[in-house]
């Protein structure tokens, strides 16, 4: 068994699906240019001392990578709908390899989305030091782990026609609570709640480059807890999902 061959074709398949590719990549880019474009000369966004393009580049990086992981769930749901998942289950492909390839595919999409946004940001004048780019990228990649599990979980729970609304709504809510669109402030219920939501820490990760802090212990614990819970749920959903859809 050669899982490299399998992984290669799975990646190729994802890249070839143009509609999927353009939508999952295009949306954060369009949002970025729509919001940051007209404000490209705002150098002190919301009195934060950073430029508007920089703020929205990192916000959309969180949004785009999160969407990429979610879209992995949409693809799983679509495969299940045509009976392909059952076909895979009667091959020697182990659940572990299956998950691994799905996660790799999600990460590939996330990285492409990230690079596209970095390029877009640079085109609007964003400049960061090498260590800032690296630290931000590293933390975002770690912060995506619970979303990878979440993608697999929805993929095995929902049907293709319900993944649309579930993902659209889920991403919007997580983005809002994470502070993608605007800073949540520091007082009151919302910022308090946000600290227990994985997207908050994902956005924090992207904010490292704009003077935010790397995760404190609380951030690591919250992310770890979500990863464990979502992975267990995803594994359970996968195991109970052997029937004909």
């Amino acid at each position: 068994m050669n899982s490299l061959v399998y992984t290669r074709y799975e990646l190729l398949r994802t890249l070839r699906n143009r509609r999927f590719f353009l939508l999952s990549l295009g949306f954060p880019l369009i949002l970025f240019f729509a919001i940051a474009g007209p404000n490209r000369n705002v150098h002190n966004f919301d009195k934060s001392g950073i430029s508007s393009p920089l703020y929205y580049m990192v916000g959309m990086a969180a949004f785009g990578t999160m969407s990429a992981m979610f879209s992995c769930g949409g693809r799983i749901a679509a495969e299940r709908a045509v009976g392909w998942n059952r076909q895979l289950r009667i091959t020697p492909l182990s659940p572990r390899s299956y998950f691994r390839v799905k996660v790799i595919t999600g990460y590939m999409m996330a990285i492409i989305s990230l690079l596209a946004l970095y390029l877009a940001g640079t085109s609007l004048g964003v400049r960061l030091g090498a260590s800032e780019w690296l630290e931000m990228t590293g933390l975002i990649l770690v912060g995506l782990i619970p979303f990878a599990a979440l993608g697999i979980l929805i993929g095995h729970m929902l049907t293709p026609d319900s993944t649309g609304p579930a993902m659209g709504g889920g991403i919007s809510l997580l983005a809002l609570l994470g502070g993608v669109y605007f800073p949540l402030g520091h007082h009151g219920f919302l910022p308090e709640l946000a600290q227990y939501i994985p997207s908050y820490w994902l956005v924090q990760a992207s904010h490292v480059a704009i003077g935010g802090h790397a995760w404190p212990a609380k951030g690591w614990i919250v992310m770890f807890a979500w990863t464990v819970v979502l992975s267990v749920l995803a594994g359970r959903a996968y195991r109970s999902d052997t029937g004909r859809v």
């Binding site: 399998y6 074709y9 994802t14 070839r16 699906n17 020697p92």
Partner: protein
Amino acid sequence: MSLSSPPAPSISPVARSGGIELAGLTKSFASPQGVVRAVRGIDVSIASGETVALLGPNGAGKSTTIDMLLGLLDPDAGTVSVFGRPPTHAVAEGAVGGMLQTGQLIRDLSVRELVTMMASLYPAPLDVEETLELAGVSEIAAQRTNKLSGGQTQRVRLAVALVSDAELLVLDEPTVALDVEGRQAFWGTMRAFAARGKTVLFATHYLEEADAYADRAVLMAHGRIVADGPTNEIKAMVGTRTIRATLPDVQSDALAALPGVSGAERRGELATLSCTDSDAAIRALLSEYPDARDIEITAAGLEEAFLELTADGAEEHAPAGLPPGSPPDAETGRNEQATEARR
């Protein structure tokens, strides 16, 4: 059991370690109409290298049985053993290839790429080009999987099953989407594969397919096995015709004694004869009772034959039904009983 299988040099060590054993398999599902007892205690054993048809009308429990055989579904009771191990182990070792009843292909790959991708999952797959040739999809190997016709899709699905080169090949109603020509080509491929010493189990509701391509047929209806034997015996059992005629003043016993007739019943002036050989029966009927009129000969469809074999009507009154694994008793008086109950 496996000891009695013919020692063919092409049978691998995997297959030698035992055939397929289904013992006391039972599976029920909850549905809005109540509990559906899809499989009600079946026992089947298949030797390595055998080609077996699982024959039955829709809703007989064939797909549920196959899902349990493949480890996709856990039985409520009973055991499945594939070459001496649980089905999930056999699947993990690459000893099973399958084509499920429903299913399309994933998109955005060419036929060749898809088959290559699936081949990479098996420890000792067939050569991809050879598989494409065998399944008759070489000409469309460069086409995208989402641009294929229904028949082409079905053949590519077969290629995906064949490339495993697995010891056991399971096909759930593989020819449903195919036309007559497609069917013949399909079974030609299957024969070539089976000739390599592989064990093949396929589900079908076409008696002709079972007859032409299997060594043995296992008949299922209502979640039970109603007959299990060489296909020619099964064919004789279910390939019956019925003669109806208006024929006053003759006892049904006398009619049942006619050559080629396995059972007879009367309802008023109308006599109904179940025939094993309707040609002989009609000759005898006309020579002995020339005043028979309104004669009608109908071929009992498989569906109908199944109903007779399973005494469907009688079951309504005795839901406990047959004990698991009870022998088929097609040629008994239950035929008449069933005919009666259908009215």
